[in-house]
Structure formats: C-alpha cells, structure tokens
C-alpha cells in the first residue's frame, strides 16, 4: 500500500474574531492518492478555501489549526519554518483565485513564472539564466501559450491567458500536488472549458494530485474523480463524481446541483431551485404581446486609447414584450452591458432608436424621467449597488422620493414585501453590510419595484451570488412575471439561467445579435456557430444535451 499524497485527519480550523473563536472547518477527513483528483464544493463561507489553504499553512495568524495534515506522510502542522518553505511550491503549489489580481501588474509574466524556479531550484543548486529561460518557455508551451509571450505584462493578456500563466507558475517546480482555488471563476464559458481541459490534461500527463475548489458542481464533475461537498465547515457528502452528481444524497448537494441546471433538462425548465413553490402560469397568458421595449438598429461605439473606433453594439434589433423574460446571452466584451445601458438611456447611441410602447424614448426632460419609472435596472453586484451609508428603507425609498410618489412608506413596504423581504419592518432600518448577498440583491430589486416599472433590465443579477441564493433570486424574477406581468431583460453569460426562467433568448457576439428565438429553439437546436460553441463549452452535460449535439 502506498502512502496517500495528502491525508487530512480530523482537521479543525477556528478564526479568532475579537474575543470569540469562530469555527471555519470542523472535523474534516480527506484522503488523496498520488495522481488523484478531488473536487471540494461548497458555498462561500462553507470553509472550502480554508481547508485548501491549511495544506500549505497559508492561513492568517488568527487561524488556529488542530488535527493532522499529512503531506506525503509528513505532518504540515509540525513543520519548522524552513521545511515548510521548501515544501511550498516544490511539493505542493496553488493556483490562486482571481488571476486578475494574483499576478504582479508591473512585472513580466516570464519573470513571475521564473520566481519559484529561482527560489526552489529543482536540483538543489541555483539555475543559470539560460536554464530558467528554457524552463519558462517549456512551461508556457505546456499551458498552450507561445513562449514569446514571456515578455508580456499581465494587462496585455486576456483573463484566460492570465489563468494559464497562474497554472504555469504552479507547475514550475514540478509539484506533486496542485491546489486550484476557484480557477475558473470570472472566466467565460468557452475560456473556462479550455482552462479545465488544460488542467485535466496536465494533471493526467504528469501524475500530479489535484485538489480543486469550486462552488459549481458541474465544473468539478468535469475535472475530478471524486467530489467532497462542504457545508458549514463539515463534509456532508463525499464520493465519486458521477455518484455525487447523479444521485446526491445530502440535501445541500441537491441544492448545489440544482442551482446549475442542465440545459435541455425538462425538469429545470421554468423551475429555478427555490424553497417556496412558484405560482402556476396564468391560464390566459398570451404568448407574444405588444413589444414594450424595443431597440431598432442600435449602434454604440467607443474610442480606445489609440483613438480606434470600437463598435460595442453594432446594429441590434431587440424587443421585450409585456409578460415576457428575455435572456441576453454572450461572453464578456460582447457588448451586452452596453446594450442594456443604452436601453436604459444611461448611454447615448450613435444611431438607432430605443422605443418604449411604440414611441421613441425622449432624450431628456420630464419625458425621460417618466420613462425611468417604466424601465428599471438591477445591477450585478448588490454590494456596490447600494450606498453603504443608506438603510434598506432609504435605498428603496430613493426612487419614490425622486419621483415624489405619495405615501412613500406604504410604497416602500409593498416593494420590500414584493421582493420577499418579509416582514418589511424587520429589514427597513438595516444597513447593507448587515444583510447577506441574496438579501442585498432583493433590496436592489425592491428599489426597482418601488417605482412599479413594467420592464426590469437585470445585468447578471445572480453572477455574484451563492448557488443556493441564485435559484431564489431567479424564482423571484419568474414569480414577478407570473404575478405582476413584469417583463424582464436578463443579461447573463450563463445558459442555464436562460433555461431556468427565460421565454426567449438573444445571443450576442461581438456587438451583434447572432441568434434570437425561443429558449427551446435556440438552446436545443442552435443554428449559429457561436451558440453551438457556447453550448459545447458547458461543463458536464447530461445525456439529453449529448443527443442534441450528435
């Protein structure tokens, strides 16, 4: 029997906050065989990152670790500083979360990849510059980057390329274990698929053990042999990926799995993961009503630093009707946010018109202000979309005060209740930092609802939220449509979201709408190449999706 590469035995980590100890990890046991791959799933605050970082003791001073962490049979918690330094990177390395910020912006990527090589020379004696350069070139080739890019600065690379550089850094000293902390968060679907494929290939080729942390079960299932699901500092379920994905036992695993629905699965159509049942579809629903909000041949362009013209939105026609949810899908940089801002009148179009109920939207004055009451915005990150100094009441009352609505208090309470913050009094005098992410997003939605709009434009409304909250917010949008007939334009990079709640999908690519149609048409029978590649990039599909592809 071989010694496991990594063995965690009864691991407990507590953080000292003020005078009290807050447990982050409680009694975790994990084993990873050499060359094995293990995914750790969980929501933010479940302790998954703490577990991963404890392996290299990369935790803040306030953390207290008890239990055993055996790396190759050697207890990490008992290591002296010098030994720990040698183990870091040479034996186990980390692909950090958020490649955007984990690279030094003022140093060339080649130098940054070389840094661990110079600190931990593989043969024990310092490498010559030529040897380092050769190794850096080799590493860049391994992660599918041309070796010539070694002289590039991080800002000259795309998000996916930066993540590749991070992986190259982790591989530099040929470690036996790589810990990847949310390696694909904030990456586009297609780039995510590429990075995952790369990581899987390298790990298999070089027999490296991999621990991957993610909140997205399907990402883990696509990469790892085994999955452990963490909840509240404990491992609630562990097993082979197919089992955990296919027949989850713990209810939290089921919630995580349901939060990322499979496109094409009829069970999750119009059924976002929520604990409160949805109202049934009104029987008299008319499929296609009058277009409420319409863009006609809309064009918006910016000039970059060199003065070159960039067409962010290049001739878009889009309509949103009453009682309809339209999903605008595309990767970052496709111009979908610019399109939304233009529809809201926050950005001036170069040409084309935005019509509301058939009439062009006025450019200013009282007409514009009246238009604002009809079309409202929900932003991506609720934390920054709320003024930290304003209470929930003030944030929701902001719109009614601007428009001088009568009986402000009743309006605010109605809006809070409609956004499912019940009872409204309980939340009214809280500050944003006293709320959870999902509650904050509800406050933003309530702020929009307070004006009783007929269309809501939601820009990635769930992208910064936890998996379980995600379903609740989507259910809220669907419920508002069914109960109030509220139309919504939901901007997203997530096809599963469209499948969950939308009636129609518009796919945006490089400023143009390449495909528009009902959800079933576009997602089950894609016509355009780009839509096909988006669907193909989704990690871990079900049988149903594969039948569509073949």
């Amino acid at each position: 029997m071989t010694t496991p590469l990594l063995q965690l035995h009864d691991l407990n980590v507590t953080y000292a906050v003020g005078d009290t100890d807050v447990p982050a990890v409680r009694g975790v046991d994990l084993t990873l065989a050499p060359g094995g791959t293990l995914g750790v799933a969980g929501e933010s605050g479940s302790g998954k990152s703490t577990v991963a970082m404890s392996v290299l003791r990369l935790l803040p001073r306030t953390a207290k670790i008890t239990g055993e962490i055996l790396l190759d049979g050697e207890d990490v918690t008992a290591m002296k500083w010098g030994r720990l330094r040698a183990v870091r990177w040479a034996e186990a390395s980390v692909v950090f979360q958020g490649a955007m910020h984990a690279l030094n912006p003022v140093r060339k990527i080649g130098e940054q990849i070389a840094e661990p090589l110079r600190l931990h020379p593989p043969s024990g004696k310092a490498l010559t510059d030529a040897e380092v350069d050769a190794r850096v070139a080799e590493l860049l080739t391994q992660v599918d980057l041309p070796p010539g890019r070694a002289g590039a600065y991080p800002h000259e690379l795309s998000g996916g390329q930066k993540q590749r550089v991070m992986i190259a850094m982790a591989l530099a000293c040929s470690p036996r274990l790589i810990i990847a902390d949310e390696p694909t968060t904030a990456l586009d679907v297609i780039v995510q698929a590429q990075v995952l494929a790369l990581l899987t290939r390298l790990v298999a080729e070089q027999r490296i053990g991999l621990i991957m942390i993610s909140h997205d079960l399907s990402v883990l299932a696509a990469t790892c042999e085994r999955i452990a699901v963490m909840y509240d500092g404990q491992i609630v379920e562990e097993g082979p990926s197919t089992e955990v994905m296919g027949s989850p036992k713990h209810e939290h695993t089921r919630a995580l799995a349901a939060a990322f629905p499979t496109v094409g699965d009829p069970v999750s159509r119009f059924a976002p993961a929520t604990s409160t049942p949805l109202p049934p579809e009104p029987p008299d629903r008319v499929a296609s009503g009058e277009p409420l909000l319409a863009a006609e041949n809309l064009r918006v362009s910016f000039r970059d630093r060199t003065g070159k013209r960039i067409d962010a939105v290049a001739g878009v026609d889009l309509t949103v009707s009453r009682d309809e949810i339209v999903a605008l899908v595309g990767q970052s940089g496709s111009g979908k946010t610019t399109l939304a801002r233009t529809l809201l009148g926050l950005q001036k179009p170069d040409s084309g018109v935005v019509r509301y109920a058939g009439k062009p939207v006025p450019a200013g004055g009282a007409g514009r202000k009246a238009y604002r009451r009809q079309v409202q915005l929900v932003l991506q990150d609720p934390t920054s979309a709320l003024n930290p100094a304003h209470t929930v009441y003030e944030a929701v009352a902001e719109g009614p005060r601007i428009h001088r609505l009568a009986d402000e208090r009743a309006v605010v309470h109605r809006a809070l209740e409609a956004a499912e913050l019940r009872p409204a009094e309980k939340y009214a005098d809280r500050l944003p930092h006293q709320l959870s992410g999902g509650q904050r997003q509800r406050v933003v939605i309530a702020g929009a609802l307070a004006l009783e709009p007929s269309v809501v434009v939601a820009d990635e409304p769930v992208a910064s939220l936890d998996a379980s909250v995600r379903g609740e917010i989507l259910a809220l949008l669907l419920r508002l449509r069914r109960e109030l007939g509220l139309a919504a334009l939901v901007i997203t990079h997530d096809l599963g979201l469209a499948w969950n709640i939308a009636d129609r999908v518009a796919v945006m690519y490089r400023g143009e709408l390449v495909e528009t149609g009902t959800v079933e048409q576009v997602l089950l029978d894609p016509q355009h190449e780009y839509t096909k590649s988006l669907l193909a990039a989704l990690p871990g599909g079900t049988a149903q999706r594969r039948t569509v592809e073949t």
Binding site: L344, L346, K369, R372, R373, Q376, L377, L379, Q380, D381, S384, A385, L386, N387, A389, T391, Y393, E394, A397, E398, G399, I402, H403, R409, P423, E425, A428, D429, L431, V444, G447, A448, L451
Partner: protein
C-alpha cells in the same frame, strides 16, 4: 405597524450611533483628544475675554507700564515699546486670529468643495475649465496673491478673510474632486441615475455625504494654515492696523526696535501662540483624517 418609530426617527437614531462611533474612534487617539481639549479651552478663553479682562489695556494712551520693561510681577510677559502688557496683547490676539482662521477656512473650503464636486461630477469641458482655473491658483504663490488682494481692497479684518479664503481653496478642490470621482464610479450612482435621479439628487444624496467627512478633516487643517497666513499678512503690514493680532505685535516689535534691543518677550509670546494654535488644529485635523480616511486606517 409594530414599530412606532418613523423612518426619520430611525435615521436620526442611526446618525447618532454613527456619530458616537466616530467620537469613540477619535477619542481613542490621545494626541487628537488632547488637541481638541486644548483647542476648546483656547476658543472658550477667546470668547469669554471681554468678561475676564479689560480691553482698555490695549489702548496706547492708557498704557500703564514702562516701555519695553522685561517680565515683572505686574506684567508677566513684560511690555512693548508703548508700555502695554504683552500678555494682554497676546491673549486678545487670539480672538482675531481664530476669527480670521475659521472664516477664511470656511470660505476656502466652501469654494473648494463647490469647484471640486462640480469639476468631478460634470466632467468634460466644465471639468477642464475648472481644473485649469484651479491649476492657475495652485501655481500662483498664494501669499503674493493675498498681499496683492489686501493691498487693493479696503483695509480691515474682512479683507484679510477674503484674501486668505480666495487663495487657499485649490488644494481642497483637488482633494474633493478626487474623492468625488471615486464615489461617482460606484455602481450605486448608476443605480441612482437609472432610478431617475438628476444631478442635484446624485450630488446631494450620495456625493456630498460621501465627501463631507474628508472635507471636515481638511477644514481643520486649513484653519491652521489660515492662522499662519493671517499672522504673515499682519506682519507684512497689509493687515488691519486697528485690531491687535499676533502678526501685528511681531511687526511692531520689529519696527520699533524691540528685537535690536534684545526684548525677546515681545517676540516669543505671539510666536509661540501661533505655533500652539496651529498645532492644536493640526492634531484635531489629523485625528479626524485618521477616522474618516479609510486609507489611513491600520
């Protein structure tokens, strides 16, 4: 309704709580607290002076002492060349110095805040024009400008206030502009626009409350500078000749040969008074800055 409190009451309760928190953070800094206590005492003395001392001692014709007498039991800090008590003059000088300091700082901070917020909020050519205007005042030696202004305008305390106020605002404008830009880049400003909020709404509800703490901290520092500028202008003889100020005491000490005769007691008391008052303001200002500016924490 289960709660009898109206949102307004809740808002006030919260404001009180936040004020208490600010006070705790401020009071935790011993130097800042000491500065505040000493500053408070100084202001109190300046306000109560007419009750506790006799102004007539400042009148040259009613002076009782010998000219340039060194410190004695009767005149603790000696007398000037007219036989007036230097202690009395120094204490009375506090009134004018503080008056000029506060008023000039207020004037310059109001101008600076207005220009800073306007430049940052509207951007484009408005910003460009205002910033070039600010740069112009920034590169111009403010003392020379102040001298020119007070030479042209009729002599008096008001002129000194205007002269200092009109020359000290550019640094405030720069600070406020930078802070406004960071606030306006936050998504909640976009949300306010989408809700239909106009310029006044965004500035009044989001920007102004956001920059006020920094402005307040800046004001206390500007007061110190204004006190120095006031003393300088008086010393250079462009101030109000009828009011007793620290600068004027220093000027007369120089012009009437007190310094050449070695009468140190005519120079040191007003000089030390200037240093102390500026020090108090700086201590308080630094303390406020530490509380309000998140970048200075830890």
């Amino acid at each position: 309704m289960t709660t009898a409190e109206t949102p307004r009451q809740i808002a006030w309760a919260r404001r009180r709580a936040s004020l208490a928190r600010t006070w705790r953070e401020f009071a935790a800094q011993r130097t800042a607290l000491a500065g505040l206590v000493l500053l408070g005492a100084t202001v109190l003395v300046a306000l109560l002076l007419p009750l506790i001392s006799d102004e007539s001692g400042l009148n040259v014709t009613k002076a009782t002492g010998q000219p340039l007498s060194p410190p004695t039991g009767e005149f603790w800090l000696g007398t000037d060349n007219f036989g007036r008590s230097v202690l009395l003059m120094t204490v009375w000088g506090t009134r004018i110095s503080l008056l000029v300091g506060f008023s000039a700082a207020l004037l310059s901070v109001v101008i600076g805040t207005l220009i800073g917020i306007t430049a940052a909020h509207f951007g484009g050519w408005v910003s460009a024009t205002l910033l070039r205007f600010t740069d112009f005042f920034l590169v111009l030696p403010s003392l020379i400008l102040a001298i020119a202004l007070s030479a042209v305008l009729p002599k008096g305390v008001g002129t000194i206030i205007v002269a200092i106020g009109l020359t000290a605002w550019p640094s405030t404008a720069r600070l406020v502009r930078a802070q406004t830009l960071t606030i306006e880049s936050r998504p909640y400003i976009e949300r306010a626009h989408a809700l239909g909020g106009g310029h006044l709404h965004v500035i009044g509800r989001h920007v102004l409350p956001g920059v006020m703490p920094l402005v307040l901290a800046n004001t206390t520092l500007v007061v110190g500078n204004a006190v120095i500028a006031d003393a300088t202008l008086s010393f250079l003889g462009v101030g109000d000749p009828n009011s007793v100020t620290w600068g004027l005491v220093l000027e007369s000490a120089l012009n009437n040969g007190a310094i050449s005769r070695g009468a140190w007691w005519n120079v040191l008391p007003p000089g030390i008074a200037i240093v102390l008052v500026v020090l108090f303001f700086t201590l308080v200002g630094r303390g406020l800055e530490t509380v309000f500016n998140p970048r200075l924490k830890k």
